[in-house]
Amino acid sequence: MSTVYRNLFAMGTRFDMVLPGIDEETGDFVFTLIRKEIQRLEEMLSNYIEFSTLSKLNKTAPKSPFVADNELFELICDLKRMYSASLGYFDISIGNYTGSGSAKAAEGLRPKPFSGSLDEIVTNDVEKSIWFATPRLTIDSGGFGKGFTLENVKKVLSDHNINQGFISFGESSVLVLGNHPFGEGWKVSIPDIYSSESVCVFHLKNNALSVSGNTPANLIKYPQGHIINLVAGARVSKSGLVCVSGPSAFYAEILSTALFIAGEKEQKQILNNFPGYKAVRVSYEPDSKTPDIKEIEFNIS
């Protein structure tokens, strides 16, 4: 048995997969299925593909109910639940206010208002239809697409009895299965955004890790930050990271974004709604390059 490594480029970033303990032929077979699954999901969720299901939803739902298949309907319902559970800090209706569904395209275009919410998406459980109560609302998949895809990749691997591996999507969403061939679980380190020294290590086994935040390089390119706080109506321009591990890559990605935006008090409240997830905040005082590393604690009370 060998270690199979495969990669591909999708959703604007790279997908890397390391599967120890399987032969090349099996690796190729499974990778072909994964490639198809990622392509299917990109065609379902991309804001950049005109014929994607999400594009059709965004175009139709402001005018009339859009009848979705079960998968998309359940996804939208789940996103609405995540919106509530994250106290509104996870809100992917930003496209409403950028006019394009792209945070990049919003750069400097719209100082305000940032006030929409997923509450304005109305779902009908019987008809499986989705309707936007505000005509300008559109859904942006940028905040959950990689995590959602990784969960679907996990299903493909599981269906083929592959229970050992390390999968990275854009190096900010990671899924691990089983054990490293020479150790218990997988140890993933998060580098400091200034020095690249490790600031914390997550010991993962059969779970996922997501990292959200601003690095200096990105703040030079996008000084106002690429993440938008729709609760406050402002871009988040602070340096730092939030790393979240937990059973689902989908929820870990949602949480890492929400926790990065939220204040300390809200962070604890949010995490309280996600049992089984661990979060570490790496923050920096203005003009300081010294990281302040804190695990976000549950607010049990």
């Binding site: 270690t3 490594y5 495969r6 990669n7 591909l8 480029f9 604007g12 970033t13 790279r14 890397d16 390391v18 120890p20 945070a103 990049k104 940028g142 905040g143 990689k146 390390f166 990275s168 854009g170 190096e171 900010s172 969403s173 990671v174 490293h180 061939p181 020479f182 150790g183 997988w186 140890k187 993933v188 380190s189 998060i190 580098p191 690249s196 490790s198 290590v201 890790l209 997501s210 990292v211 959200s212 935040g213 601003n214 690095t215 390089a217 990105n218 390119k221 996008y222 690429h226 990271l241 990605e253 890492s256 974004t257």
Partner: protein
């Protein structure tokens, strides 16, 4: 030396210095090895035979080379002759008959850029007259004519260079080096194509000039897409594989431009090389979406030579992933560094491939080809490999043409002179 010539010379030397920095690359292009050593000295005299559009382009490059002068121009079509003389300069004399020009002029070499059916007999006349020859591709209209040109060169002891400019294109030769360095593994398959979407016609001032102007469309003068386009890419395939094809089969037809032309407007062929490797070739005149390309494939990667890019079968891992792979290989359990924040624009990536050659090239090799020819003539230095490339490309091209015409598999001919 005027400013224009001086600048052009500097450009050439800059390009050459990039090449000469690589011993390996020079080993692929030995014909360039001595070019940088040229010193100002005797200017060679050139005769231009065929001063149509291609001939004029060659003239423009030659005009930038201080070591040569165009002392005469020959063309039997007055507008072409006039254009050729205008580029050559006031010292140049005009002729309508190449025999007369060869008899009257004391020239070192000729540049032949006539229609295909004229290549062989003019080149042979020039060689027999003791003159070096540069002849545009494709070498000749028949295999027999191509072979006769080789024989004439052998007898005369002069230079015969066929105009396959990719032999002088740094990007192509760099690709060859990378292939020899096992970058894509052994070459197992080549696909090449040249697609255009036009009628391939030139404006004809008077109906009786149709065949003279649009000679590429008529079988008496040309073998159509095969000799005018495919020959370039067949030369590349031969050089990449280091072999000549064993045989070829193919088909062609005129399925769109039914305008009285005699040559095909689309051809499709398969060349079989030793070891079971194939060149799959097609050329059409009714669609340009895919344009022009040579795709070189191996188990480790793919190269596209016209586009100048290559793709490994598996893209290099991200740094953290590479570290993990190395750990597993060395049976080490350690941390895997994962960096970057989610959905940050500059983490976006796509499989854009790597550039084969990361300098902007000023020409497709034709300019350097002219420099090289002048250098060879000045040094009376014949490079057998260059003639082999031109000759073998011609033979393979004409095999393909024959396969299409006869609807048969055509084998590599025996008893060639080279």
């Amino acid at each position: 030396m005027n400013d224009q010539k001086s600048n052009a010379r500097r450009d050439f030397l800059k390009t050459f210095s990039l090449i000469s920095g690589s011993t390996l690359l020079l080993s692929q292009m030995p014909w360039l090895r001595d070019l940088h050593a040229q010193e100002p000295g005797r200017r060679i005299k050139l005769g231009i035979i065929g001063s149509g559009s291609r001939g004029n382009l060659l003239q423009l490059y030659l005009k930038e080379i201080p070591e040569c002068e165009m002392s005469c121009v020959c063309d039997n079509y007055p507008p072409n002759l006039e254009a050729g003389l205008a580029i050559a300069g006031p010292q140049a004399k005009g002729y309508v008959n190449h025999i007369e020009m060869l008899e009257k002029e004391q020239i070192d070499a000729v540049i032949i850029a006539t229609p295909l059916h004229e290549h062989a007999h003019i080149a042979i006349d020039a060689l027999n007259a003791g003159v070096h020859v540069f002849c545009e591709k494709s070498m000749a209209k028949t295999i027999e004519d191509s072979d006769n040109m080789v024989k004439a060169r052998q007898k005369a002891g002069k230079i015969l260079l066929i105009g396959h400019q990719r032999l002088f294109n740094v990007k192509y030769q760099r690709a060859l080096q990378l292939i020899r360095d096992d970058k894509i593994g052994p070459v197992t398959h080549i696909r090449a194509y040249w697609h255009r979407n036009n009628d391939w016609r030139r404006e004809v001032p008077s109906p009786e000039l149709e065949r003279k102007i649009n000679w590429r469309l008529y079988r008496d003068y040309s073998c159509g897409l095969m000799t005018e386009l495919a020959s370039h890419q067949i030369q590349v395939a031969n050089q990449i594989l280091g072999e000549v094809p064993l045989c070829v089969w193919g088909s062609g037809s005129t399925n769109y431009w039914k305008d009285g032309r005699e040559v095909e407007d689309n051809v499709s062929l398969v060349y079989k090389y030793p070891g079971g490797t194939h060149l799959v070739y097609d050329s059409v005149n009714s669609n340009k979406h895919y344009g022009l390309e040579e795709q070189i494939m191996g188990p480790k990667g793919t190269m596209e030579l016209e586009g100048g890019k290559m793709w490994p079968e598996i893209a290099p891992p991200a740094p953290g992933i590479l570290q993990l792979i190395n750990q597993i290989e060395h049976k080490i359990f350690d941390v895997i560094p994962i960096g970057g924040a989610s959905w940050i624009p500059d983490t976006a990536a796509s499989d854009k491939g790597e550039y084969i050659w990361n300098e902007v090239l000023e020409s497709d090799g034709t300019k350097m080809e002219m420099e090289a020819f002048v250098s060879m003539v000045r040094e009376n230095r014949f490079v057998p490999e260059l003639l082999r490339q031109g000759f073998y490309a011609s033979v393979a091209t004409l095999m393909g043409y024959e396969a299409i015409q006869k609807n048969q598999i055509v084998n590599w001919p025996e008893n060639l002179s080279l």
